[in-house]
Symmetry: C2
Subunit: 411 residues, 2 copies
């Protein structure tokens, strides 16, 4: 792949980018290069408008009747159906509800109750830890001798055995963006008779995904990163169609009942995904997400992935060209093994990121020495990447000079 | 209590009502008498404005930095501190998080893990069923021989025994508004060595509550009824200060960790209420609630309860004066035994409520024959109650006439 070699060439690439018009759907402050979309996606105009209509018209004017007249009750399913094509699922396999952690709890508890004689959950150590905390809480609660095997990612495959009932993995690593081979590991889990649950928080909206083709059992994911649903936006969960009626969440509440308005004392799980609804969800949070998901209607994920790779390669190439000795790529070098953000290590990563933010380049820092940058194809331009690395170069130069002076002063 | 005896007298009562000015803080469509605030409270202007600022300024402009610069991270505690005085708790005893059902799960699972040799949960049958579904799910998950004793409310006290580790009760009944004697039953639970958890969903913002005085262990509640936090607004949970460090939720996630940004693999619960934070919550939903809670700053709950009782007595008195034979009070007649809504039974309750709604009086129907009306002192006027019952009288008269004609035609 030959990438742009000058700012002017970046402009030319932007001019012929099929995703370029999508940028206008976002509210983006001028002068800011926002590269933290892997943590919180930017606001779309549609999201703001939809939330406002929900609050002022639906809640404000139509009040309680909105549950029927504005279809609030079915919104968790309608939003699930909008996410389905982004992960290679059918509309009746995805539900929007609660947070990613709560959804993991529901599905892992369901798998636990179906575990038979197996007692192990296999997962990755050093992953974003909410998932492992959820599993630890669940194991403590069960009272049974559930064993959680948390190992470095390279050892995961070898730990899946006949005692494993569930494998829980995050597809794209939150820090390094390294990808697991989703189809291969799913096959490996199935070969041992284990179920697999994929956390797609850093994948959805950034990569092409095909849960159906891989026959993945369960998935969860968040909507506030590449889907731009808003801070703490409601999460989604997926259960493969043929498993849905075998799987009952340990966290069950009224909206997941087969007949929620009968108000009977005995829990009878609703068919399909509806049983994973729990309490009453925030319609305002749902509305913001609904607005954001509308943007995806006309978008081809192949364009998104292609541009994500190009932006990432441009970013890495430009950083390498800076020739600064202390900034090291902490993500895989091969694009095929990376998600849509890039991590570098730098001994003074924290100060570096603070300096970048002060200059209008927003990424983030993860202890002890990692700086992360998201390449979000819907609203980031080639020229933004060029400018971001130019600023990074200036910041590094100033840093290197200060370091040199400091060292000379010391010696 | 001598209540207004004419519409003009109602107007006079409104003129001297200390809560009258609060009505202007709500967006209320003219011509509508909204009596479903026990299900979904009305929109305040502050709620709409705060949500808009959250979306357009904080998320839209400041993006990820808002977690720090706008204090998003601590918002669950700040909102908890605002709810605390409404339930007789201290600021560090209340947290806003998730839904009422999920919060019940957290606290009931914590109690279950501390149950020692006890194995029973005592609760009420025929209550709003989400609470019992949560307990049933938890029992199934535990794998242990947890017994859920669900009995009619009059039998609850006698079922609390030395094998009971937890009593779960809803303070105000969702259908009839009948009150449990919170201090007395709390004492009874403690006398047997059991913990007690109160669901305050239909109480908070409608009644004076003093959890501290009663030494209640746990409480949960929703914020979309009398607190007007918006459809599906985030819920709250309370743990008495001296119990907080003994209680660990079975549903644990990253925001409840002692050092959430260390991203370590082992769950270490945060001190105090913070351990009950789970995944990342919707800041937009929180903002709408924050706006709504601001209204309570200047309000004395004694005024709220006094007016609630007056509006309820006026409503019941006027309905009794209609002399319609088929509409029967399904709530306790004594105000001291009632919350802030009133239920009546009527053989054709569903049709009756539809006719009322068509005439602009919004209450709701609960199968098989209950119609419910909420008396919300912050935005309902004495004159609204007068007008609502006048319309109810017209609807009943028309109904009774139709019934008479129908019967005559049949015979």
């Amino acid at each position: 792949m030959t990438l742009p070699a000058s700012r002017a060439e970046c402009e030319a690439w932007d001019a012929r980018d099929p995703l370029a018009p999508v940028r206008a759907r976002f509210q983006l402050k001028s002068g800011l290069i926002y590269m933290d979309g892997n943590s919180l996606g930017a606001l779309t105009h549609d999201s703001a408008a939809r939330a406002r209509a929900m609050i002022e018209d639906e809640w404000g004017n139509d009040l309680i009747r909105s549950w029927n007249v504005h279809g609030w009750f079915d919104l968790p399913h309608r939003l699930g159906a909008k996410i389905a094509p982004l992960i290679g699922a059918t509309a009746d396999e995805v539900l929007v509800a609660d947070s990613t952690s709560v959804n993991l709890f529901k599905l892992a508890s369901a798998a636990m109750m179906n575990r038979g004689a197996r007692h192990r959950i296999v997962t990755e150590s050093g992953n974003f830890p909410s998932d492992i905390y959820v599993l630890q809480g669940l194991a403590a609660l069960s009272g049974a001798a559930i064993e959680i095997i948390a190992v470095p990612r390279t050892e995961v495959i070898d730990c899946i055995d006949e005692s494993t009932f569930l494998v829980v993995l995050t597809h794209v690593h939150y820090k390094t963006a390294e990808l697991f081979d989703l189809p291969a590991i799913t096959r490996r889990a199935h070969a041992s008779g284990a179920r697999i649950l994929w956390d797609l928080s850093h994948s959805v909206g950034a990569l092409e995904l095909d849960l159906h083709a891989s026959r993945a059992d369960f998935a969860i994911g968040c909507t506030y990163k590449y889907l731009n649903g808003g801070p703490g936006a409601p999460a989604f969960l997926y259960v493969r169609r043929d498993l849905q009626d075998q799987v009952q969440p340990g966290l069950a509440a009224w909206m997941g009942h087969a007949a929620p308005f009968d108000f009977t004392d005995d829990y009878d799980p609703a068919p399909g995904m509806a049983r994973h609804r729990s309490g009453t969800p925030s319609m305002i949070a749902f509305a913001a997400l609904e607005g954001a998901l509308g943007v995806w209607d006309d978008i081809d994920l192949r364009d998104v992935r292609r541009k994500s790779v190009e932006l990432s390669e441009l970013f890495i190439g430009c950083v390498e060209a800076l020739g600064s000795p202390e900034i090291l790529l902490a993500s895989p070098r091969a694009a095929a093994r990376r998600g849509s953000h890039i991590a570098f290590s730098h001994p003074r990563g924290y100060e570096l990121m603070q300096a970048l933010i002060a200059r209008g380049v927003i990424g983030d820092f993860r202890a002890p020495d990692i700086i992360r940058f998201a390449l979000t194809p819907l609203y980031l331009r080639y020229v933004d990447v060029w400018d971001a690395v130019t600023i990074l170069g200036e910041v590094l130069l100033s840093h290197d000079r200060t370091e040199l002076l400091r060292r000379n002063a010391v010696t």
